[in-house]
Every structure is written in structure tokens, then in C-alpha cells.
């Protein structure tokens, strides 16, 4: 697509632990176009945050990007080729760490994280931190950087920005701190902002203020967003396209309206049925049974089959990859239930649920002792 800004292809991130290799992100592909907000939704442990940090190559040891391509405009952020012995090594044109630091992070791609206190330094004033960030990234003299910092604070609706400039982070409320992070992200006029659950820890009214603020700023600056969240309501509110993640994989990818009104994957369906609604009274919630398995030892076949109400024997054998379904452009799902997969789902026997009355397994590796 011509206006494509970021493209992620077949990205794999693994963590080597004492107990084995955790495949936190296992071959995901998605793209982001100019000026749009793309959602990455899933429960905790689905690999959303790891996927997001690998876009900026910020995965910490023991985590490692082992395969895949991440392209931002014409720059290769992640790219591999096979060396003489067939092992994947970084390609020549992949940006160096120095280029990532000086050209990409902060300037082209900015981030907003969930906990603002982890991104702000408590021993410097809010203004100093913002000013320093602007000085370094935009090569401005201190005086101009200060003016720009105050303007940016006003832009994100911080009251009395001149006075608050000299306050410390602990003198700001949670919502105000998150506004400071948004100001910091916006200060260099980046093309893309990666947001990792930025409103999750906030009150609904503050969350509402921030969601409104972000959509206004997006209209003004045309910034693209990748928005990681577990909250489907936030997705419905701000995203244009959505990727639903389960256990390191994307199971459904669709424009937001199709995702909610023409749902094609049983996991998305189940997720939608399990949340109570603020706008109507639900008599009975239908929870997804069990808990998400550990990524260290994912179930064979389709990873959702252990909890899926539609699971059949065929699902144990094949792990489907995303295919276009439902006859709509850009709507992909990874479920054998669709004809597009040509699996003999129809003739396959439904899986007998054998967990008995205690659906949830213990999470320790030892399992259940009899």
C-alpha cells in the first residue's frame, strides 16, 4: 500500500529462560498507515507489549528478536538474512543501534507507557525533563526549548503551564503525568506513536479526557498510533483497524466495525461476550473457560482450542495462519471453522471437554497431583 508507514512481517521474539524457550511473539504481521490508529488487543500474557517494544528494538535480555522484518518508511528496523551456515544474522541495511537512538526513537517513533512514573524522573522537575528532551531531539537552544515545552504542556491541557513547569512529578496527578508523557511524545512531531495501555491505570473521566485529547491531536498533527490495550471499549473508541492477539499470535485482523459486528474468530467472540457493558444490563456473562496457557509450552494445533467452544479434533492437528474470510477486504482470521481453510472441520468430531468440573488448571508446571 502506498501510504504504509510501518510494516511488521512474521516477527518472532523469544525469551530464553531456565525452563525453556518462551515464544512470546510467534510470527505476527501487521501494518500501520499514515494517520491511522491500529489496535493490538488481548489478555495479559498475549505478547502485545513485547510486540510493541520490538518495533523499537527495545526487547530486553533474555528476550531476542529471532526472525521477521520491521520496516518503517524505507528504513529497515529489523531484517535478517541467512549466513553461510544457514543461521539468521542481521542484514546490512538494518539500522545500527546508534541510528536507532539518534534518528528513530523519540524523533520518528515515540512511545507512551502505562505507568508514567516509570518514564519520568522524580528528582527533576517536569519542565526540565521535557525541555531536555526537546533540546536533545530538536537541537534547540535552552530558551526556545523552554518556550516550546510550555506550549506543548498547554497543548495537552495542563492548567497553568508556566507555573506547573517547575513542579516535580509527585505534584502531578496520574492523569496529569500521563499528559506530560503525551506532551513529550508529541514534542518532536513524530510520525508514529506506540502507546502501551496509556489509559489503563486512570479513572474513567480522566481516560475519557485523554482519549478525546489524543483524537484531537491526531486530527491536528496526522500522527499514527499503535495502541496496545486489553480494553475492547477503548479499541471501539479510537482504533480504525484492530489486531486481536492470543498467546503470541494474531488470531483476527479487521477494520474496527467488522471486528465488533462481523466477528470471525471464536476468541474475539468470546472476549466480547465476557465483558459487562456500561450501556445495557447483561443478565449473564459468558466467561471463557480456563486460563491462557503458558507461552513456554503452547498447546499443539490452534492455540485457542483448549478453551474454544467451537473446538473440534481438526483444531488439535493444524495451527491455522491468518486468511481472508467473510468476503471482506482486510478482514482476516485464523480459524479452521471458515471454508477458506479447506480443513475438514465439518466432519471432525467436537473435542470432548475433559477438564471435568474444575476448568482451571494450576499454573505451576507440576500440574495436578492425583
Amino acid at each position: 500500500m502506498s501510504d504504509e508507514l510501518l510494516s511488521v512481517e512474521n516477527l518472532k521474539v523469544q525469551f530464553e529462560t531456565v525452563e525453556g524457550v518462551v515464544r512470546a511473539v510467534d510470527g505476527i504481521s501487521f501494518d500501520v498507515r499514515e494517520g491511522e490508529t491500529v489496535g493490538l488487543v488481548g489478555e495479559s500474557g498475549a505478547g502485545k507489549s513485547v510486540a510493541l517494544s520490538s518495533v523499537l528494538r527495545l526487547v530486553d535480555s533474555p528476550g531476542r528478536i529471532v526472525a521477521g522484518e520491521v520496516t518503517f518508511r524505507d528504513e529497515t528496523i529489523v531484517g535478517f538474512e541467512d549466513d553461510s551456515s544457514g543461521n539468521p544474522v542481521p542484514r546490512e541495511e538494518m539500522l545500527t543501534d546508534r541510528e536507532m537512538r539518534e534518528r528513530i526513537r523519540g524523533r520518528e517513533i515515540a512511545t507512551i507507557f502505562q505507568d508514567p512514573m516509570e518514564s519520568l524522573n522524580p528528582v527533576f522537575t517536569v519542565g526540565e525533563q521535557l525541555q531536555e528532551f526537546i533540546e536533545i531531539n530538536r537541537d534547540l537552544p535552552p530558551k526556545d526549548a523552554r518556550d516550546l515545552a510550555i506550549d506543548t504542556l498547554r497543548e495537552v491541557d495542563i492548567p497553568q503551564p508556566e507555573d506547573r513547569f517547575d513542579d516535580y512529578t509527585h505534584e502531578f496527578s496520574g492523569g496529569m503525568r500521563q499528559r506530560v508523557l503525551i506532551a513529550m511524545a508529541l514534542a518532536c512531531d513524530p510520525s508514529l506513536i506506540l502507546a502501551d495501555e496509556p489509559t489503563t491505570a486512570l479513572d474513567v473521566t480522566v481516560e475519557g479526557q485523554l482519549l478525546n485529547l489524543i483524537s484531537e491531536l491526531q486530527d491536528d498533527y496526522g500522527t499514527s498510533f499503535v495502541w496496545v490495550t486489553h480494553d475492547l471499549a477503548v479499541v471501539a473508541e479510537i482504533c480504525q483497524r484492530v489486531n486481536v492477539m492470543y498467546l503470541g499470535e494474531i488470531v483476527e485482523q479487521a477494520p474496527v466495525d467488522d471486528l465488533f459486528h462481523d466477528t470471525q474468530h471464536p476468541y474475539t467472540e468470546a472476549l466480547l461476550d465476557s465483558v459487562p457493558r456500561p450501556d445495557r444490563t447483561t443478565e449473564e456473562l459468558t466467561p471463557i473457560k480456563g486460563v491462557m496457557p503458558e507461552a513456554i509450552n503452547p498447546p499443539p494445533g490452534c492455540r485457542f482450542h483448549t478453551r474454544c467452544p467451537e473446538a473440534r479434533e481438526a483444531c488439535r492437528a493444524t495451527n491455522p495462519s491468518l486468511k481472508e474470510v467473510g468476503g471482506k477486504q482486510g478482514h482476516r482470521a485464523a480459524c479452521l471453522i471458515h471454508d477458506a481453510f479447506a480443513a475438514d472441520y465439518e466432519d471432525s468430531d467436537p473435542i470432548q471437554q475433559d477438564e471435568g468440573s474444575f476448568g482451571e488448571q494450576l499454573r505451576s508446571a507440576g500440574g495436578v497431583d492425583e
Binding site: 456500561p278 456473562l285 466467561p287 494450576l362
Partner: protein, 422 residues
């Protein structure tokens, strides 16, 4: 359940203040204008301020509000885990607020609490079985064998495997840990459970499992819940009646459907309109409440919500034309927040009073304030506007408390002057 029946819990005028002066001499103030020069005047945070409500037997009363509004403090005060500063709390007709230590301990058998973080309320060194038996031990129920039998029974009741009796808490997931907390609370066969954000730390699918279990348990054991949450969707799902709290006070209390379908208090309305809905076709421009919650140590006079209220009542004594009061209010807010950069007078007037300044006395005040702003005297402008308008509104002068009309004729309390004749 009839309204005439005695409520299980009745809370009357409960206040809970915390001393926030800090330090050895924090509460002392030096005053040299005659009298004794040193005064003791501690800074008090009014976490809960004059709250009254009832909980009927077998119902779930929801307590909803933003963080810092005092809902958890209220929940704990109801159980007297915190000593109320003032007020009475009747549990089955007995005033819990002035019980002696031993009597109070005995009421614990009938009242239990579940906290938000399931992990930190379980002792990591104890096995699950003994954790569940602990309250029975404290209240001298059953012999050891009987307690173990009951613990295993309870594990099964809350949806866990009784064979996990000898497991440690860390071996369970968050949802399962919350089930263990439920089992422990149920072990002494209580009538009343305070649930303080019990599902907030859980994933959506796990939250649904736990909420369903809580409902089943309520039916099975005839429990009464006080359900504290900031999540309006969860409150709507699980509660029968809902109390909305703002800055230490209950601003609206009524039947669930009434609160969600016909909210009366401007705060409830703002709260409801700011929640995102999981449906892209229903999301759109939302009315979002502006500003932050004021400092609970120094709450606004009269109605505490007035500083953020979109429907602040116009002060008497001024003749406002159509839309003029709204414009003045917007200007007042902008001044308080130093929202704009005043370059020249006409630009400020144009952006806040497009159709010209209001007439009469109000216009003169606004005119003077705009002048001050242009001269960069923000504080003077702010106090002038506030003294002339905001402080004169009935909202600032009187504390509101009214019963409102509802379609169903059930009791519905709204603390807002808009309903003064209702």
C-alpha cells in the same frame, strides 16, 4: 425483599477524617495576633464526610466513584476496620461504631471483606487449606477435622479442586487466588461481605468467571454485598442498587436501572457519558468531565461537585441573557486554568464572548476581569470572577440533599440543587 423490612446495615452520618498535617509539630500553627500564640489546627483530609445509606438483606449495593473519592475508606469504616470520626453504623440493629473490642471481634464472624489484589491478601508461606481454616479457628468453629472438611467443601463451592488443599497461593492464577479469598471469607458463614474492587486486577475473561461465581454464591448462601468498584460496567452487571460517590459524599443513590437509564445528578451523567462503550457504532463525541478532583482537605463549599459541574446554577442578582451564563462559566474556567495567552483584549473577548460581553452588572465584572488578564494579573482576575459569580451560586452556598421522583416510585436520593423542587 420489601422496603419496610429492617435493613441489614444502616449507616448514619458517618464521617472519617484523617490527620494529614504530618511531622511532630505539623498540626501546630503560630498565630501572633493576640491570644495564645501557638494553635493546634491539624490539616484534616475529609475522606468520608457525612454519609448515610442502608443495605437491605440479600441485595448488592454498588459503591462507585473515581479514585480518591473515599469509597474504600467508607467500605472499611462500615466494617469498623477504620474507626469512624463521627456517626453510627448499625449492623442488624446493633451499633458497630461503639462496640467494645471483644464484641466487635465477634461481629467479624458475620462480616467479611475481599480486597482488590488477590495475591497480597494471601500469606505466601501458608497452604491454601489452612488459609481458609484461619477465620474458623479465630472464631472457634469446628474441631480440626471438621475445619479441614469444610475447607475442602468450600474449595469446591468456589470452583477450585478440593485436592489443591495442600497447595501454596503462588501456584494459583489471579482469578483462582480471588476464589481462595472468597472461600476464606465464606468459611465463617457470614451474612455481609464488603467487596473492594474484587475483579479489578483480573483479565476480562477471568473477571467474568469470578463475577458469575460471586452471584451464584450470593444465591446459595443468601449473602449481602457492598460492592466497591470504579468500573461502571461491572457495577451495572452485579448490583441491585448503586450509590455514586464524589469527594467523600454520596451524590446519588438509587435503583440500578434508574441510575444507568435516568441518571439525575450532573456528576453521574458525566461519569456515564465518559465511559467508552465496546461498540464502534455507539462511540462518538462524548461529553467528558473537565478538570481534576479537588483536594479533599479543603473541599469546595456547598455542593462539592460545583467546581467541575457543567450545570452550575447561575448566581442570583444578575440578569443573564441566553447563553451568557455559559460563556461566563467557560471564561471563568479558562482563567482559572490559565488556558490562553492573552495578546489583546478584543481577541480574548472574541473567543469567549463572540456575541459581545453580557449586559448589566455581570458585564462590568467580566469587563474588569478581561482587563486584568490582559495586564497579566491572572490571580486578581480569577478571584474577582470567583467572588462575583461562582461563590454566589446557590451551589456554593448550600449543601444539596433531595429525594427525587422516579418512574418506579422507589427511593432515589440526589444531592443537587437542580432537583430542589423535586
Amino acid at each position: 425483599m420489601s422496603d419496610a423490612a429492617d435493613p441489614l446495615v444502616r449507616v448514619e452520618g458517618v464521617k472519617k477524617y484523617f490527620d494529614a498535617s504530618g511531622g511532630l509539630f505539623g498540626g501546630f500553627q503560630v498565630d501572633l495576633d493576640g491570644g495564645f500564640p501557638v494553635q493546634y489546627a491539624p490539616r484534616e483530609v475529609k475522606a468520608v464526610d457525612d454519609v448515610s445509606f442502608e443495605i437491605r438483606k440479600g441485595e448488592t449495593l454498588g459503591l462507585v466513584g473515581e479514585s480518591g473519592c473515599g469509597k474504600s475508606t467508607l467500605g472499611r469504616t462500615v466494617l469498623r476496620l477504620l474507626q469512624p470520626t463521627e456517626g453510627n453504623i448499625y449492623f442488624k440493629g446493633q451499633n458497630v461504631a461503639d462496640l467494645g473490642k471483644e464484641e466487635l471481634r465477634r461481629t467479624r464472624q458475620e462480616q467479611q471483606i475481599i480486597f482488590q489484589d488477590p495475591g497480597s491478601s494471601l500469606n505466601p508461606r501458608m497452604k491454601v487449606g489452612p488459609i481458609i481454616e484461619e477465620p474458623m479457628k479465630a472464631h472457634g468453629l469446628h474441631d480440626p477435622a471438621g475445619r479441614e472438611e469444610r475447607a475442602r467443601e468450600l474449595l469446591e463451592t468456589v470452583g477450585l479442586d478440593p485436592r489443591h488443599y495442600n497447595r501454596y497461593p503462588h501456584q494459583f492464577s489471579g482469578g483462582q487466588q480471588q476464589r481462595i479469598n472468597l472461600a476464606r471469607a465464606l468459611s465463617v458463614d457470614p451474612e455481609f461481605i464488603v467487596c473492594d474492587e474484587p475483579t479489578s486486577a483480573l483479565d476480562a475473561s477471568i473477571q467474568a468467571q469470578v463475577l458469575n461465581t460471586m452471584r451464584e454464591l450470593q444465591e446459595e448462601f443468601d449473602l449481602t454485598y457492598l460492592f466497591i468498584s470504579h468500573d461502571l460496567s461491572v457495577i451495572r452487571h452485579i448490583c441491585d442498587r448503586v450509590a455514586v460517590m464524589y469527594l467523600g459524599q454520596i451524590v446519588e443513590l438509587g435503583e440500578k436501572e434508574e441510575i444507568f437509564e435516568h441518571p439525575k445528578h450532573p456528576y453521574t451523567r458525566s461519569l456515564l457519558s465518559s465511559i467508552p462503550v465496546p461498540d464502534p457504532r455507539l462511540s462518538g463525541d462524548r461529553e467528558v468531565l473537565q478538570g481534576d478532583v479537588p483536594d479533599p482537605a479543603d473541599p469546595p463549599s456547598g455542593c462539592r461537585f460545583r467546581t467541575r459541574c457543567p450545570e452550575l446554577i447561575a448566581p442570583e442578582g444578575y440578569a443573564f441573557g441566553d447563553g451568557e451564563w455559559e460563556a461566563v462559566r467557560a471564561f471563568m474556567r479558562a482563567v482559572a486554568r490559565r488556558e490562553f495567552d492573552p495578546d489583546d483584549r478584543s481577541a480574548v473577548e472574541e473567543s469567549y464572548f463572540g456575541g459581545g460581553l453580557p449586559g448589566g452588572e455581570a458585564g462590568e465584572v467580566v469587563d474588569e476581569a478581561v482587563g486584568m488578564v490582559v495586564e497579566d494579573r491572572w490571580e486578581a482576575a480569577e478571584s474577582l470572577l470567583s467572588e462575583s459569580f461562582a461563590e454566589n451560586s446557590v451551589c456554593a452556598r448550600e449543601f444539596p440533599d433531595y429525594e427525587a421522583e422516579t418512574a418506579s416510585g422507589r427511593q432515589h436520593t440526589v444531592a443537587c440543587h437542580l432537583y430542589s423542587d423535586g
